[in-house]
Symmetry: D2
Subunit: 325 residues, 4 copies
């Protein structure tokens, strides 16, 4: 299937947004108060997605701002070592820190996080730090919703979107909603709908689409109808254990079930889902296959301890898909 | 000529943005340091435009936030007394003050202003204070660029635009660029281009279009080409004493000269221009006539002491046009 | 009487704090909404006090930050023309504006003000802009309470106090409480008591002392006892039309009645009171005379339109005192 | 020796300031970029000092604000389990987070820290949350310099100092200077000198006293002379491996050498020093013994991995002192 990606681009996927640090409880199945040791990983939705995509074989790059300290340097080196192009990752010169996420795993179904998002470096990426020459080198620009939550990162994303539209780069909007740093639900809805209307593909959970529409009982059908009045041609709705759906502007609807998994924690499921989905699209697989890859990838990551390190290979994904065919 | 305005709407024009106080030097032709008395007027570009349009006979309304003090009450009453609907003007409950503009008239060609725009009430209008039921009552929504300069006013404008598009309300974007409160030129360009691409008609000086394009040597032809790739169908370029131009998506270009005037000061010229231009459009006059009305209106206001109080009647405008025909 | 002022100092009085603009209603005895013209004066408590003291013949100087615009330049020139040393008035380089006070005179007993105090220049005076060489040139340093309401002005005042104590400069603390910009009553009480304990003379209304003590039913006797456990040797309590009291560490108490006056408005009474009181002290008049001068000065200013321009001469003051002797 | 502590107080020592989280590198002797695991401890100078003092047998309490999350609850429980009274530790209700310190141990002599201090809960302790009834229950109030670095914590400290002075509680000022969150060196010097002048005992490194005096080449003799013109009666100057000095208002000077130690890292040395010094004073040991206890305590903590957990017992301290007698 052909999704209209421009050929002859040096990158398949460039993401814009946050690259942070996850501090995962080493001793788990208990409240975090009783955890005394934490393991350090690269985290943050768009970073995880390019890490996953890179492991699957896509040529990837990242646009973002990181702290000029031990954490920022760790992130940049980790991503570079995986083959991700980090030439457009900017070190913050104003002393802003890397965002942190402490994870708490009380039980497979009771996970929570403790986030440090106050004045973090990623939200200080400015529009003048986004390069049109760089954006035009990719087939796909992945935009993460959290990067819209505060200025100047918000404007940097709009700048990247403008460059992408001007240069026939497909825009994928991963809603990635985090309540932190947003001022109000109406503010979120304003920017989520603005960006969704300008994107080619939108991916999110049903709850995240409700945030976008500032409603509490949204329906996929209605959401898709709204989006298809604008630029999007594909909308993906994730319903957790109930599987996920892809709607197309042509009127098709696809659904796949979630694959069974021995769940350790729920973090990272969405990021691994998106990376495998985008991998399949770039490889011109049909939409149903893309949903299966996405779902298989998520089922693997939830059984492992980290998000970024846990990203599967294409062989692992295809193995799961074939076993459940 | 038919511009596609929806008929059967109770309002011709609703503006969103700031309504402020002008304090004009009573003793002028001197530096403000030597001025000891000031006269108080309602001011602020979108307020002036609806005041002008109301005087010309349009049915108008205003969406904005004003201070809950003597200045805010003065503004609301002044506009209400002129027949402007003020039901959607909200009093600020957080103690923010009305913006102030002290005007200095050293000579007709040397005018400057001293603005108080720090934490002013108009920039605190929030998206939840914009009513879809109200926006859908008008033919035209006028958006003022300065209202984009800070959150939450910025999001309130995007909310109004979304309501306007959904309800077939024509969007007019008056660039109205003021350097205050903007963080950077790239930030301004990001929001100006986003809103311009979503508007039906764009009005600005050549300098303001350069701000929108983040360039220093823009050309009308090129700007119009860019805009017409998106939603706009008319773009008006003002060149001060060198007259003004209207470009249309259909490929027409109109030009009118500035009318001669005994200039007292230059303030208010742009606002009176816009109000007469929109009046003509709503009355389905052709574009050349609209430009003439606009130009005549500006020539009258620059010869008078205030901006809002000085707005002319239709007879005064038509008199000037006919004299110079 | 000898108050221990150092002789051989080039200045009698240097004040630290705000110098602002008053915009007084030209048409009064009505709500401000109906006032259309305003007269411009220099204002702000410590500025008014040095203006008053300068008119009485004291050698005065001022430490403060003013806006680098028409208003700031007007203030500096006005004060310089009166003979006040302005060499330590600093122009703000960060774009902060001069504070404004619009006055409303509904009737002699119903006066109110509308203040613009958001990010005003005077509150940005920094401790590094206070010169020890300058502070040591004066007999008296006048500290205005409002200058404590925000950093870095707050630290600039503490710096000036430290220099004053080190160089045997008497510190006079005029409580000058304005609710604007303070975060909480406890914050105000913390700094007011810190500064009062470090001062030699404290002047305030009974209400202001209640703010200092964070109480609602303070008594002069108790307040004086508290203050005299620390550095102060004189405490002045103003009770409006009921007159005023001076307590001394030695146990004396003096009282004078308010002089009758044809009141136009109440603004400026406190500042004229302080300037005449300090004039008398510097001239080594006894405390009772100082209270009389203060009271007479206040009775004159409340009968006139402005605060700064209205400051009386010593002859005018002595005339009133002698008439009512 | 008698230092004038009030007898019959239920607490020996109450500290005010920050209680935070240390995340110490599990794999050390390398850059933090290569550390993948961190151990969690309670940290923050005043928390460490009361922890150390509590282990030595003092009856202790803590005044501070902690985050209402897993980190805040961990801190409160850890301190309570050690017997520290936590009844005046307040949970933040505005979402502020606990401060974090990641420690990097490249070598025993190359240690650095990466601090998260942006909008942390401890700096939001407000003056109204400090109880006079609580402060008057202790012999000693320990004030930590970092708590002065921002409002409202700064005012909370001034409030506590006022209560202490009013109720004959001895005030110990541990300079504990951290560059984070201070606006300028002059701001720091203003508040450090204000508080030092109000304290009974001041403890700091020579570098920290230079900060207090806003100088670069301070001398202990001169500093002591300055302090003794005000309230302090003892000043302790720490010179790292070169030992430390105690000056008294009576003119005595004591010095002790640093004890030899197998240094793992330098963190926590100052806090263990202060806790043992204060323990000795409360037990009415002479000043030379207090310096020895302090020095011995520091030599133990620098040989261990954490700061808080590593605090020694009195037997361990006395053993070192006796071995080197």
């Amino acid at each position: 299937m052909n999704y209209g990606f421009c050929e002859n681009r040096p990158f398949d996927l460039i993401a814009i947004g946050r690259a942070c640090i996850d501090l995962n409880a080493v001793e788990y199945n208990r409240p975090m108060e009783e955890t005394l040791t934490f393991s350090k990983y690269v985290g943050g939705s768009p970073a995880n997605i390019v890490i996953g995509a890179s492991k699957l074989g896509l040529r990837t790059g990242f646009i973002g701002k990181i702290s000029n300290d031990q954490h920022g340097r760790f992130i940049e080196k980790y991503m570079r070592d995986l083959g991700i192009d980090t030439s457009n990752m900017v070190f913050d010169t104003a002393g802003h820190k890397t965002g942190l996420t402490f994870t708490e795993i009380k039980s497979p179904s009771e996970c929570s996080i403790l986030m440090y998002r106050e004045s973090v470096a990623d939200l200080y990426l400015s529009p003048s730090e986004v390069s049109e020459a760089y954006v035009q080198k990719t087939k796909v620009l992945l935009v993460s919703g959290t990067a819209l939550s505060k200025s100047p990162s918000r404007e940097a994303v709009f700048q990247a979107i403008q460059f992408a539209r001007k240069n026939d780069v497909k825009i994928v909007f991963e809603l990635d909603y985090r309540p932190y740093t947003w001022e109000s639900p109406t503010e979120t809805a304003v920017y989520y709908s603005l960006v969704a209307e300008l994107s080619d593909i939108v991916i999110g959970t049903r709850d995240e689409y409700d945030i976008l529409e500032n409603t509490i009982d949204g329906q996929n059908e209605r959401t898709a109808t709204y989006l298809f009045r604008h630029r999007p041609s594909i909308a993906v709705f994730k319903h957790g254990v109930d599987g996920s759906y892809a709607y197309t502007k042509d009127g098709d609807v696809f659904r796949v079930q979630a694959y069974p998994s021995k769940v350790l924690k729920t973090f990272g499921a969405g990021d691994s889902y998106a990376s495998a989905f985008l991998y399949a699209l770039v490889r011109n697989e049909d939409l149903e296959t893309a949903l299966k890859y996405a779902s298989a990838s998520a089922s693997i990551v939830v059984s492992r301890h980290s998000s970024s390190n846990a990203m599967p290979t294409i062989e692992e994904i295809q193995h799961i898909v074939s076993v459940h065919a």
